[in-house]
């Protein structure tokens, strides 16, 4: 051991016995730190931390509100869309039904007109046939009488007309024709 160390060891007090001045200065130093931190700086930062927390929470709340609104709007849109679809389907159905009735009506009308035309045609034909038949009958009567007059040599016209012989004869012919058909 050097003389210095020996001297120091002799002089050195027990290191566990605290020197008073250091105690005082230590207390002062700590009180300075504690005073500033506890009275000013930590309350300062606590306020800001609280503010920050609130802002973050406020932001979250805002976002939540926006989300709820968006959700409700979306639902509204969906409901409207569904309604519109429903309406469209209803209109289509209605149009289909209307179209069907229209077609049916038109078909019935066409049918009726056709039948009318056919009936008119038939009536026309019948009338023509009757006119033709009566004209024919007259002509045939006249021709037959003329022919018979020429054969007999005298006019049988008036007589034949009066006696209605020709008519009877033609009727018979017709009946025969009817029967043979």
């Amino acid at each position: 051991m050097s003389p210095l160390v020996q001297l120091a060891a002799e002089e050195a007090e027990n290191p566990l016995i605290p020197p008073i001045p250091e105690l005082v200065i230590g207390l002062i130093a700590f009180v300075i730190v504690f005073g500033f931190l506890a009275k000013k700086l930590l309350p300062n930062i606590n306020k800001v931390l609280e503010e920050r927390r609130e802002q973050i929470e406020g932001g979250i709340e805002k976002a939540e509100a926006a989300q709820t609104e968006a959700q409700s709007v979306l639902e509204q849109y969906k409901a409207q869309l569904a309604e519109a679809r429903h309406e469209a389907a209803r209109l289509r159905q209605e149009a289909q039904e209307q179209g069907a009735t229209l077609i049916a009506e038109m078909r019935a009308e066409g049918q009726r007109q056709r039948e009318e035309i056919v009936a008119a045609g038939h009536a026309q034909i019948e009338a023509d046939r009757k006119a033709a038949a009566s004209a024919l009958r007259q002509d045939v009567g006249k021709l037959a009488t003329e022919l018979a007059g020429k054969l007999v040599g005298e006019s049988l016209e008036d007589h034949a007309r009066q006696s209605r012989v020709i008519d009877r004869f033609l009727d018979e012919l017709e009946e025969k024709a009817e029967a043979s058909r």
């Binding site: 051991m1 566990l16 008073i20 001045p21 105690l23 130093a29």
Partner: protein
């Protein structure tokens, strides 16, 4: 150093291996300082550790002032760092041990204690200062004393007179015949030993750390002669390793100190079982 007022460093610098002088080993004298002014024999003096203590508290206040004096909701870099430190002590120590509701009141004290102790420890490896203030027992003793007073008064306030003594003595009927012995030991352990160990744990760690650093630093210098240079190099590597280790220990000891503080406070607040 105390022996020779003219000496500035912690050891004799003109002494080397093979020069015929012995190794100037560090010892208790390494922790004694000549007053910068005042009289060492009396009780009115001002020395290096006091200067470091006051300077340290100014640094802490300065740091937190710069960070928290005008705090912003969107923090700058400095505020972010300070907030991280503050949050670590508040959440990691106080809320964890005492709980958020009860602990909030003690956050300023514990935060102050943590950063104060850490700063005082840090002086150990800050160039030029290079002395852990907490290696002088007075500083840990003051802090442990504050915690002790708080703990005892809080126990009386919360538990009442009888409850407090039950708390101190660890009163438990089920112990039966052993109860008097157990109560004596508990009382001794809680009221006398606890503050002592609280202070000495910090003091001894920093004391030992500083001694180790001194040992290797002195050895590096002492052996810097002839073949000793090789040994000196090894010793210097150890200086670096120990410096890094001290950096770690300083933070750990500050953490342990406030953790114990919180566990004492928690014990005072909790119902006695």
């Amino acid at each position: 150093m105390s022996a020779d007022p003219t000496q500035v460093l912690a050891f004799e610098t003109d002494c080397h291996l093979f020069d015929g002088c012995g190794f100037p080993a560090p010892g208790l004298h390494s922790f004694l300082f000549e007053p910068l002014f005042g009289d060492a024999d009396g009780n009115s003096y001002f020395n290096k550790t006091m200067l470091l203590a006051l300077l340290g508290s100014i640094i802490i206040v300065g740091f937190f002032w710069a960070a928290f004096a005008k705090p912003k909701v969107v923090p700058g870099k400095l505020q972010m760092v300070a907030e991280a430190g503050y949050d670590f002590v508040r959440r990691g120590v106080v809320y964890e041990t005492i709980g958020k509701k009860e602990g909030e009141k003690y956050v300023p004290l514990v935060v102050s204690l943590f950063f104060f102790v850490w700063m005082m420890n840090l002086w150990s490896i800050i160039p030029v200062a290079q002395f852990p203030v907490t290696a002088i027992i007075s500083y840990p003793a003051v802090l442990a004393g504050i915690v002790y007073i708080l703990w005892v008064s809080l126990t009386f306030k919360r538990q009442g007179f009888v409850g407090a003594w039950k708390n101190f003595t660890g009163y438990d009927k089920s112990l039966g015949a052993v109860l008097p012995l157990s109560m004596t030991i508990e009382l001794f352990s809680n009221l006398l030993v606890r503050p002592f160990t609280h202070a000495v744990r910090l003091f001894a760690n920093m004391f030992a750390g500083h001694t180790l650093l001194l040992l290797f630093t002195i050895a590096s210098w002492y052996m810097l002669n002839g073949i000793g240079i090789a040994y000196s190099a090894v010793s210097f590597v150890m200086v670096l390793v120990m410096t890094a280790f001290e950096l770690f220990i300083q933070a750990v000891q500050a953490y342990v100190f406030v953790l114990l503080t919180c566990s004492f406070i928690q014990g005072a607040l909790a119902e006695h079982h």
